[in-house]
């Protein structure tokens, strides 16, 4: 995937954008950013905010805390300000705020982990970039038939080897733990996972090693 080098933040002229597709993209991004800022303001300062925005396609987006409707009613004067503040109401508000706090915490942690994974991705990219690669590491398009056939054989052999080692490991596990415990509460800690999903692997062995450290597997370039 080629990475286009962005020019970074640029000043935008405050006039209606000319290009329709850019305009739509800008709208999507800025609307999301606007709602995010509003959400933050509510959380940080206990403000109550309503925002209503019409899209270029005449759809309407709205954000409201505690809710769009109650705030709009309040603004348009259709109900008596200030809203009632009895104990019952306060409990409801407190409960809601607690829920929001929890969600915010969850979101923050998630974004932190995401950033770490992104950094890890960059490191891996660096390793690949700096790697003094062998001919078989070049893109497939650059290999001739001769090389391709050799690579094919080598990969097939490696695959068999992986199968073999995997079988060995499974044997060891079965010996040590004759009952099929993997995946249950009886599984000893640090036991090999029977299968790995190709999804979240934040706890995987490789993930625990900092890139660039003395790992026996990933070389230090």
């Amino acid at each position: 995937m080629t990475r286009r080098i962005s020019k970074g933040r640029q000043r935008v002229e405050m006039v209606k954008m000319k290009n329709a597709s850019n305009l739509q993209v800008t709208f999507s991004k800025r609307r999301a950013g606007l709602f995010k800022k509003a959400s933050e303001l509510c959380t940080l300062c206990g403000a109550e905010i309503a925002i209503v925005v019409f899209s270029p396609g005449d759809k309407v987006f709205s954000f409201g805390h505690p809710s769009v409707d109650t705030l709009v009613e309040r603004f348009l004067g259709r109900d008596l300000p200030p809203p009632n503040n009895d104990v019952h109401n306060q409990l409801i508000v407190a409960h809601r705020e607690a829920g929001i706090r929890e969600l915010n915490t969850k979101l923050m942690n998630l974004e932190e982990v995401l950033q770490m994974e992104k950094n890890r991705g960059e490191s891996l990219q660096e390793i690949r970039r700096r790697a003094n690669g062998q001919w078989w590491e070049s893109p497939i398009e650059e290999l001739n038939l001769f090389q391709l056939q050799h690579l094919k054989e080598a990969l097939e052999r490696l695959e068999q080897k992986v199968e073999k080692v995997a079988q060995q490991q499974k044997m060891v596990n079965n010996h040590a733990f004759p009952f099929h415990t993997l995946g249950s509460a009886w599984t000893p800690p640090n036991c090999a996972r029977e299968s790995s999903s190709y999804g979240l692997n934040v706890g995987a062995p490789f993930a625990n090693r900092a890139i660039g450290s003395t790992s026996s597997i990933v070389p230090n370039y």
Binding site: A38, L44, C45, F75, R101, L114, W135, F146
Partner: protein
């Protein structure tokens, strides 16, 4: 402007909270204005603060009333379709972040295992890997194999172009030349022109000569001492190795 990471929680310090409110409110109003101008759309913002009974409004009370009237005129379903409150909005953001994380983790895992695969091709051991790693490694190898098979087919099919057929011919010639001879100085020299036609740069050329020879001399005396045959799947062409290990025949 200092960029400290702000904790997303209610600011308990009164003066700090008030200062933050003032700044961010101003910024928010600016953002609404920009969105409206840049995209040529109608919008309004209403902010109630604990510091004021009357709200702060963009663009102004009249403008906001107009926008809200327009809003209210829309069918109930259209109004609520894209309506969010704090809770639903944060949930949306959580969902999106989870998706991105899943994708990034998968990418990283693939990249990692690709490195392991390359290491494996030079004969490095697979001891440190657990079953999960082996599983993922197998997947990556499989993906690569599929691509190689596809590419081989494509190259074979595209034999109508002269370059690839001469490549095949040259490759065949190189292999034939190596196989037909025992250790002697002359054949390597004959080999070189053939390898040159493979269109490789000097480094690749010499590596391929090596590789050809290695492939064909497994049982011969030309044993270069790379280690056990079943460990070494592909010779490790490294600049450091070249200096010591290449027999002098090959270097004129």
């Amino acid at each position: 402007m200092t960029r400290k990471k702000v904790k997303l929680a209610f600011i308990t310090n009164d003066s700090a909270r008030k200062a933050t409110f003032k700044k961010r409110k101003k910024g928010l109003m600016k953002k609404v204005s920009e969105l409206s101008t840049l995209c040529g759309i109608d919008a309004c913002a209403i902010i109630y603060s604990p510091y004021d009974t009357s709200p702060e409004v963009w663009p102004n009370t009249m403008g906001a009333q107009r926008v809200l009237a327009e809003f209210k005129r829309m069918p109930e379903m259209e109004q609520s379709k894209k309506m969010v409150n704090q809770e639903s909005f944060i949930r949306q953001r959580i969902a999106k972040a989870s998706e991105q994380l899943k994708k990034q983790s998968k990418e990283n895992r693939e990249k990692e295992m690709t490195e392991v695969m390359y290491q494996g091709l030079t004969g490095k051991g697979l001891q440190n890997l657990n079953l999960g790693d082996l599983n993922d490694l197998g997947w990556v190898i499989d993906q690569n194999l599929k691509e190689v098979y596809k590419r081989i087919e494509a190259v074979k099919k595209g034999s109508s172009t002269s370059s690839s057929s001469s490549v095949a011919a040259a490759a065949a010639a190189a292999v034939a030349a190596a196989a037909a001879t025992s250790q002697s100085v002359a054949p390597p020299m004959e080999q070189k022109p053939a390898v040159m036609e493979l269109g490789l740069d000097p480094m690749q050329r010499t590596q391929t000569e090596w590789f050809t020879d290695w492939m064909n001399s497994n049982t011969s005396d030309q044993h270069i001492g790379y280690g056990h045959a079943d460990e070494m799947i592909l010779p490790n062409f490294n600049d450091n190795h070249n200096a010591n290990v290449w027999p002098n025949n090959f270097y004129p």
